[in-house]
Every structure is written in structure tokens, then in C-alpha cells.
């Protein structure tokens, strides 16, 4: 509707960004990184059992599943959308993976990934072709995916189990150089994601679409295709996380993923990705995920709080993180 070319952000032409703009985008990422570093230092000083290899490896594995989903969410949000279906797809994929594992690791891999990508694809087509709000389409996706999962498990009463000794379990439980396999997978994927976002045409198109969709369309960006690919990718990554988690748990637990989309969105936003689209970075998202992981761990380190106080403390930490991050980003933008 609004074809005001002035609003096209400079990220469309990354080659010609001015120094001030580069600084702004740097501090947007580094705001989260600084916060993470501060949180790590503060926690290490306060709690002697925090900075141990065991505890840090624990935070890493807990965060790895969220990180994989948040990677897809970063793309979606940069493209000016939102994906509320990820938590439900995560749970559905776990059930499908455990269900499929009875026919061997290959089905356990392909079944959930196929389903996740398909759900994402359908959502992407609906959003891109019909112009419906991503919020509504993916909310419908959330309900559909959760409903499907409950239908497969007779209202959540049956939990499909991965056969003992199945090679599939290694994906979730294997340890390499002190870190769990899911952590390594998350690291590799986030690395690839950063390259995809910064160094490919798709990445440039995505920033353009998120910055100003109409302008991007006028400039010849294949808006529909970019959106469809982005939502399909988000569904695929959510399913991958669900599958890895099922391999770790050894079962397709039906109560997972409720409200998970909010944690993921929070992590992405803490990481400096703008909720309105057009700006963001994978590195920031990773920091955001880790900040959430550290906050949860710190609450447990205190160890004596009641659940309501735990929520208050997590909320307070979160506010501090967001305020500090926003302040740091602003300081960077103020030339």
C-alpha cells in the first residue's frame, strides 16, 4: 500500500553502508554479546558452581534446541513476519521422530523433517499468496500442529518410545569434545545461517522484504518466493529441534513446546533483531538464547526460591537484559 521508497533501509545495499550505520548494526549485535558476557561474569563470581565445565555444558545443551528454532525465527522476523507455530511443530516433530524410529533412524529423521517443512511451506504460501497476517496464519498452524500431535497420541495419553539401542538416540545423547551432539549441530547450523543471511542473495532479499516489502517488490525482489522459503525453513528447523530433542529424551513426549514460541521470540528480540523486520543478526540471536539459558540457570543456582519468586526474578533479569541491550544499541545509533 505504501510505496514510499524513502523507507527502504540501507541494509538493502550493504556494500554502501556508512560508517555510522555499520557501527549501529555492530552494536545491535554486540549489545546482546556484552550483556551475555556481563551475565556470565556476574554469575561466575557469585556462584562457585556456575563456571564449571559440567554446568556450562548443561546450559549449552539446554540452549541448543531453542537456538535451532530461534535461527529460523530470526529469518522470519527479519523478513517482517512472525511464526507462532514453532513450539507446536517442535512437539509434533518429537512425536513423529519417536514414532518413526521403530522403522529405523532414516524414518525417524525424514518423517518429522518432512512434516515440519510441509507445515512451514503451507504457512508460507498462505502468507505470501493471500496476504493474510503471519500472526493469524501461524496461530492456525500452531493449533493444527498441536491438534495433529494430540490426534496421533490419543489425546496425548500415549507416548511413542524410541526403541532402546536405536542408533537414532546417538543424535541427541552423543557427546563430542565435551559437548552434546545437539550443541554441535546448533553451532554448525547457526554458522551456516549467518553466512546465508550475510553472504547470499537470499539474505539480501530477506532484509529488503522485511525493510519495505512493496519497495522490495518494485525493485524486483521475488517477495513471494522469499517468504515461502523463509517459513518453510522455520518449520524445518523447528522440526529438527524437536527431532533432536526426541533423540535425547528417548520418547516423543506430548506435553512439550507449550509457550515455547514466546521464549524463542524473546531470545531473537533480546539478540537485537527488530520485531518490525529489516534488521537483525544470527550472532545476536545466539547471545539472546544463551542469556535466557543463563538466567534460568542462575535462578536454579540461588536454589531456594519459590516458583512465583523464580518467575519474578527471571522476569526482572529479562527486563534488565532488554533495557541494557536497547540502551547499548541506541548509544551505537546515536552516531
Amino acid at each position: 500500500m505504501i510505496t514510499d521508497s524513502v523507507a527502504v533501509p540501507t541494509t538493502v545495499r550493504p556494500g554502501r553502508a556508512t560508517r555510522a550505520e555499520r557501527l549501529a548494526s555492530l552494536s545491535q549485535r554486540h549489545g546482546a554479546l556484552t550483556m551475555l558476557a556481563l551475565a556470565l561474569i556476574a554469575a561466575s563470581v557469585t556462584f562457585e558452581s556456575f563456571a564449571t565445565a559440567e554446568n556450562l555444558a548443561g546450559i549449552a545443551i539446554q540452549s541448543s534446541f531453542v537456538a535451532v528454532i530461534a535461527l529460523g525465527m530470526t529469518f522470519v522476523i527479519i523478513g517482517g513476519g512472525i511464526d507462532l507455530s514453532v513450539g507446536a511443530v517442535f512437539a509434533l516433530a518429537g512425536v513423529l521422530a519417536a514414532f518413526g524410529s521403530r522403522w529405523g533412524p532414516v524414518t525417524a529423521l525424514l518423517l518429522p523433517l518432512g512434516a515440519g517443512a510441509l507445515i512451514g511451506l503451507v504457512q508460507g504460501v498462505l502468507i505470501a499468496r493471500t496476504g493474510m497476517a503471519p500472526f493469524i496464519v501461524t496461530l492456525a498452524g500452531l493449533l493444527a500442529a498441536r491438534g495433529l500431535m494430540l490426534a496421533l497420541t490419543t489425546e496425548g495419553a500415549e507416548t511413542p518410545l524410541v526403541p532402546r539401542g536405536s542408533g537414532f538416540l546417538g543424535l541427541g545423547r552423543g557427546v563430542f569434545l565435551g559437548l552434546g551432539v545437539p550443541v554441535w549441530i546448533a553451532i554448525v547450523l547457526c554458522g551456516l545461517g549467518a553466512v546465508l543471511l550475510r553472504r547470499t542473495r537470499y539474505g539480501q532479499f530477506l532484509f529488503a522484504v522485511g525493510g519495505n516489502e512493496d519497495a522490495a517488490g518494485l525493485m524486483g525482489v521475488p517477495v513471494t518466493r522469499v517468504k515461502v522459503v523463509t517459513y518453510a525453513l522455520s518449520g524445518l528447523l523447528a522440526a529438527l529441534a524437536g527431532m533432536l530433542n526426541a533423540a535425547r529424551l528417548g520418547s516423543g513426549v506430548t506435553i512439550l513446546g507449550v509457550g515455547m514460541e514466546l521464549d524463542v521470540i524473546a531470545a531473537v528480540v533480546i539478540g537485537g533483531t527488530l520485531l518490525v523486520g529489516g534488521a537483525g543478526a544470527v550472532g545476536g540471536t545466539v547471545c539472546g538464547v544463551l542469556i535466557l539459558g543463563v538466567i534460568q540457570n542462575v535462578v536454579n543456582q540461588i536454589g531456594t526460591l519459590t516458583s512465583s519468586v523464580q518467575s519474578v526474578v527471571s522476569g526482572a533479569f529479562l527486563v534488565v537484559a532488554v533495557v541494557a541491550q536497547t540502551y547499548l544499541s541506541r548509544a551505537g545509533r546515536a552516531r
Binding site: 514510499d4 512472525i82 495419553a157 507416548t159 506430548t254 506435553i255 520485531l275 536454589g303 516458583s307
Partner: protein, 363 residues
């Protein structure tokens, strides 16, 4: 420029509003409404009594489990609670563990709360292990899926005692033992109380608990079987989940009375849903406890008070005060006594005959 700014700002606003909405929705979903009427003084009587220890086998000993000997007064004990302390059962359960830990004089008690998220319960347990917990008491959120946490505990030779819900694993190898109520038996006793309250005829609606855990399944099966066996004149006309929450129980009850006005009895699988049903019935102009008989399970103070007031007919207790028995079991285990894989506690029952007298020992 200014139009572009405005649209940007509008989009930002819309996005924020959307996010806030989901947040509010999620909060509303999580918050099990509880007006906090019942102060939880875990000490006021009502201590758990063992009904039966599973007879088979010779039980679990230190050597068999492979755990190192431990003096509880010099130990770090971890407690992983599954759900928010937002309903009387969870409040009383956590308080009881805290109180007993203090009484026994453990060196340090770590308490975590998974807030109904299984992934969080796993990381909670791992966090406590990383902090040096030497004995773990776990109230499992779900029967499946805790394997990584149990393996982490086993790797450090830390015994895990599960309370209130059972997990699908092997006692004495994956975990030490299970401590809790017999939920099928609770369902059966609720059916007996229902027959007594209604005289054996009527149309019953069941408010089911959350799907996906054995508490709901067992309480339903026990009730349905016992009713079929003892009261052929009673018909179950509706079964719907109220997710163990008062607001959900109320909403479901409202729908049920309008679609099935002939309902004469309600079996709620916990007290919170029963209290919701009482409100719904009152709103619909019916007299709960008289026009529509209500039986529920848990034995919270609010529900037993409702028996005194005449709006609920009977309540079967599910005793949440696991502290004394849990630490006694741990002490036995470390003293070399064999621990049975399933220790079932005996639960009391409340009706109009004893509600007023027993009110002070409820939770």
C-alpha cells in the same frame, strides 16, 4: 519521510501488541486460578501413612543401587517440583519437603520448579547435579521423557526418589523408588462415595484432569470400573477435560449443564475443578450438593470447607505431604534397609460426617 516513520511506528505497535497478546494468553493459560484461601501450614497434622509397600522382591539396597553411603545431615539434597506452587497440592508438597529438610537438618536443600515445562525439569535436575546434589527428590511432570536427567543422576551415582507421579522406568536402576498414592484406588473410592451420595442412580458428568499423565487415566479408570461394577443405575453421560484448573472446570461445567441439563452428579478429578463446577452450578441456578451431587479428589481446605457448607458431597484425599516419608525412606536406604520399589500411602476420605472435624488437618 513522516508517513514512512508513522507506518513504521504503527507496525512496531501492532507487533508489540501482538506479542503482548500472546503473552497474556499464555499467562492466562498457565495461571491455575487460586484465590489463595488456604494457608498451607504443612505441620498441622495429616501426616502421610504408608498403606502398602509393593510386596514382590527383596527391595533396593545401597549395594544393589550402587550408591555411596551418605549422612543426610551432611548432604546436599535437591527437590525438583513439576508445577508452579499455584494450587494447594503443590504448595503443601513443596512446603512439606522444605519443612522436613530443615527438621532432618540437611546441609543444603536446593529447590527448583519446572513450571510445567518438561525441558526445564530436565535442566533443573542437571543444574542441581552440577551444584553437587547428592540425593534427589523428583515430582515428575510426565511419566516419560526424564531419561536424560535420570542418566545424568545415575552417572554421578545420585539416587532419585520420585514422588506423587510414577515414571515409566525401572525402579532400583533408573530411579530408587516411587512414593505416592494409588490413583486407581482413589477413583474407586470416589465412585463409592458417589454411589453413597446419590443412592446409586443418576446421570454423571466427569471433569477429567490434564491429558497425558497417569493421574488422569488412573482416576478415570478406577471410577468408571467401580461405578460399572457397583451401580448399574448410574450412567456416565459426559467426560470432558478441565485440565485440573478451576477456571477450566467452571467453563466446562457451564457448557455441560446447558447441553445436558439432566446431569445429577459430577465427578471432578481434583478439587480445583470441583470448586469451579460449584460456581458454574450456582450461576446456572442449581444447588450444588443438593440438585447436583459433587465428588472430587485431593482434600484441599477449600473443598473440605465446601463440604461443611453443603456444596460438595465428598472428597477423597490425595495427601501431598511427602516430606517426612521421603526423608524417612532416604534415611532407611542409607541405614542399609531395603527400600520397596513402590511405597503407596493411605489417603483419607471426607464427607459431611467428618468434614468439620477434620478441616484443621487439611491443606
Amino acid at each position: 519521510m513522516s508517513t514512512a516513520r508513522t507506518t513504521d511506528r504503527l507496525r512496531a505497535l501492532a507487533a508489540t501488541a501482538a506479542l503482548l497478546l500472546t503473552g497474556v494468553a499464555a499467562l492466562a493459560g498457565c495461571t491455575k486460578s487460586e484465590d489463595g484461601g488456604s494457608p498451607s501450614d504443612g505441620s498441622s497434622g495429616g501426616e502421610q501413612v504408608v498403606a502398602s509397600s509393593s510386596p514382590s522382591g527383596e527391595g533396593c539396597t545401597l549395594e544393589k543401587y550402587g550408591a555411596p553411603k551418605l549422612d543426610l545431615t551432611d548432604a546436599i539434597v535437591g527437590f525438583s517440583q513439576s508445577e508452579k506452587e499455584a494450587n494447594p497440592f503443590r504448595i503443601a508438597e513443596t512446603q512439606s519437603i522444605r519443612d522436613e529438610a530443615e527438621k532432618v537438618g540437611v546441609k543444603k536443600l536446593l529447590v527448583t520448579n519446572a513450571q510445567s515445562q518438561l525441558s526445564k525439569q530436565i535442566s533443573d535436575i542437571q543444574d542441581m547435579l552440577a551444584q553437587g546434589a547428592q540425593f534427589l527428590i523428583v515430582a515428575p511432570l510426565n511419566s516419560d521423557g526424564l531419561e536424560p536427567a535420570l542418566q545424568a543422576a545415575a552417572a554421578k551415582k545420585v539416587p532419585v526418589l520420585t514422588i506423587d507421579r510414577k515414571i515409566n522406568a525401572t525402579a532400583c536402576s533408573d530411579y530408587l523408588a516411587f512414593l505416592g498414592s494409588d490413583f486407581v484406588e482413589q477413583g474407586k473410592r470416589a465412585a463409592d462415595a458417589m454411589v453413597k451420595a446419590t443412592g446409586g442412580t443418576g446421570k454423571v458428568a466427569i471433569l477429567l484432569g490434564s491429558s497425558g499423565n497417569n493421574v488422569t487415566t488412573d482416576r478415570t479408570n478406577g471410577f468408571v470400573q467401580q461405578l460399572a461394577a457397583t451401580a448399574p443405575g448410574m450412567e456416565i453421560v459426559a467426560q470432558q477435560t478441565g485440565e485440573f484448573a478451576r477456571d477450566k472446570g467452571q467453563a466446562v461445567m457451564e457448557q455441560l449443564i446447558s447441553s445436558n441439563p439432566e446431569i445429577t452428579a459430577v465427578y471432578a478429578e481434583n478439587d480445583e475443578m470441583a470448586l469451579g463446577a460449584v460456581t458454574a452450578l450456582k450461576t446456572a441456578g442449581k444447588k450444588p450438593g443438593t440438585d447436583v451431587k459433587i465428588v472430587s479428589i485431593d482434600g484441599t481446605r477449600n473443598a473440605v470447607q465446601a463440604i461443611v457448607d453443603g456444596s460438595i458431597n465428598a472428597v477423597i484425599e490425595s495427601n501431598p505431604r511427602f516430606g517426612p516419608l521421603a526423608f524417612a525412606t532416604a534415611a532407611d536406604f542409607y541405614a542399609g534397609t531395603a527400600v520397596q520399589p513402590a511405597i503407596i500411602i493411605s489417603d483419607r476420605a471426607y464427607d459431611s460426617a467428618n468434614a468439620a472435624a477434620e478441616l484443621s488437618s487439611t491443606y
